[in-house]
């Protein structure tokens, strides 16, 4: 049908951020009146969410969000209002983000913070961790999909482990040679595990 094609074109234009006020009004009217159009509109949004997040779409519907933007709006004009276009684009983006978060709920894909014993000192570059005896350090969770970031994280973990081993291996030597200059000559030795002497 010519009418359906017109509505689909309006939907595509809105999804691309190029829709006019007339396109939006046309979409709202169509999704209210025609369940197939509502389903198509949902699939369209789901596809966009998939392209952005790589996650399979669920049920996302931004028509209410779009409607809310238009509540209290003045009668439609032929030319799109930049403000309304911006609001619609923001509404769509927000809906996609919220929908994406809903889809991610319950999936343990990424745990961004390393769980390490002791205090973690935020510093630029390499991530220092507080050494603590008697507990094995827990590694940083990484994405299930291999990537360059994951490779870098693996390298960082190896170097963190190397630094930990060298702390234990060379700590006593460092304490022996510098303790006399430190505020208390015993504390530098206390920082070193006793079995590494």
């Amino acid at each position: 049908m010519v009418g359906d094609d017109l509505i689909r074109e309006s939907m595509s234009a809105v999804m691309d951020g190029e829709g006019s006020d007339i396109d939006i009004a046309r979409i709202l009217k169509a999704v209210d009146a025609d369940p197939s159009m509502r389903a198509y509109w949902q699939r369209l949004q789901g596809s966009q969410a998939f392209l952005q997040s790589g996650v399979a779409p669920g049920s996302i519907d931004v028509s209410e969000g779009v409607r809310a933007v238009l509540v209290g709006d003045k009668p439609m004009k032929q030319q799109p209002s930049p403000l309304v276009s911006l609001a619609v684009a923001a509404s769509v983006t927000l809906a996609v983000m919220i929908g994406g978060q809903q889809l991610l709920q319950g999936r343990d894909i990424v745990n961004p913070i390393a769980q390490v014993p002791g205090g973690v000192m935020p510093m630029q570059g390499a991530a220092p961790v507080q050494a603590r005896y008697g507990l094995e350090p827990q590694g940083q969770a990484v994405s299930a999909r291999p990537s360059k970031t994951a490779d870098r994280s693996a390298t960082s973990r190896v170097y963190e482990q190397l630094a930990r081993e060298r702390f234990e291996r060379y700590g006593f030597s460092h304490a022996q040679k510098t303790a006399a200059l430190q505020p208390n000559a015993v504390v530098p030795f206390a920082r070193v595990p006793p079995q590494n002497r």
């Binding site: 002791g118 507080q130 190397l162 060298r166 920082r191």
Partner: protein, 290 residues
């Protein structure tokens, strides 16, 4: 701990005003004398006591027995396990820095303080003049000049470590043996049989070479009189991409860097990570010994 952290931040950001700095090196004579007493106290007095040490969220009590005259100290880790053995440790004797030599690197200020372990103390704030060193807040025993409570922090005020005597007994003056001190060339090449040789292209401001050795691997020790750093170099143990890792234990940091030419540089010391990186940057591997 939060109060101490707030004080440290304040200490790091405000210029010390407690003493008029009018002496020969910018320090008031009485402050210079007090700081010198502190710097020399470690080798002058025997003492014993119980020390509480906090590293981040970790803490432990340590029984301490310092016998400076014999050149050895002992410590017993009371929180580790029941019946923990006494550990005897020997620190190499080094010539103490002077207040004036440190004054160009650190700003000192003093004020009154509360008692620590039942003893009268005064508070010394040591604020680094650049971002290459740690800052310290010390409650110093009036009688001996020994620091009874010390908080160390990064230049931006992050507390790294805190230790405090819960119980303290001052012994007598120690009769320290006179040990020779070597004069070293800061740019001399460090050698080792079967280990890499290296030298420093330069050292961060204020640091000088105070020791070097080949065991367990080629290493050098540098200090600014208060902060100390050991630099170790060894062949990289496994095929790895260049990278870096850092581990902290209280004030001591171990920074390990793998170089593209397959060496592993480890910088260990009581310095911020910025300084550790500068030391690693300065290492020049010359060749590998046979």
């Amino acid at each position: 701990m939060a109060q101490i952290a707030s004080f440290i931040v304040l200490m790091m950001t405000l210029a010390p005003v407690s003493f008029a700095q009018s002496g020969r090196c910018g320090l008031a004579p009485e402050l210079e004398e007090s700081v010198n007493k502190l710097l020399q106290s470690g080798s002058h007095y025997n003492y014993s006591g119980t020390l509480l040490v906090e590293y981040g969220s970790d803490r432990e009590f340590i029984a301490v027995n310092a016998r400076q005259g014999q050149g050895s100290n002992s410590l017993t880790r009371l929180s580790r396990r029941a019946g923990a053995p006494m550990e005897t440790v020997i620190a190499e004797r080094l010539e103490a820095a002077t207040a004036c030599s440190l004054a160009r690197l650190y700003a000192f200020s003093a004020e009154t303080s509360q008692a620590v372990a039942g003893r009268a103390t005064w508070r010394l704030s040591i604020r680094p003049r650049d971002t290459l060193r740690l800052g310290y807040l010390m409650d110093v025993d009036v009688q001996s000049g020994l620091p009874l409570r010390v908080v160390s922090a990064t230049p931006d005020g992050q507390v790294l470590e805190r230790f405090e005597f819960a119980q303290f007994q001052l012994g007598g003056h120690s009769q320290a043996a006179q040990l020779p001190t070597a004069t070293l060339n800061p740019t001399s090449t460090l050698k080792g049989t079967g280990t890499p040789r290296f030298q420093f292209a330069g050292l961060p401001p204020g640091f000088t070479l105070i020791g070097q050795g080949d065991s367990p691997v080629a290493h050098a020790v540098v200090s600014d009189g208060l902060a100390s750093v050991s630099v170790f170099i060894e062949p990289q143990p496994k095929a790895l991409a260049a990278g870096e890792g850092v581990v902290l234990r209280g004030s001591t940091l171990a920074y390990t860097r793998g170089t593209p030419n397959s060496y592993l540089i480890t910088v260990m010391g009581e310095v911020p990570i910025t300084t550790a990186r500068l030391f690693a940057d300065a290492v020049r591997v010359t060749t590998t010994g046979s």
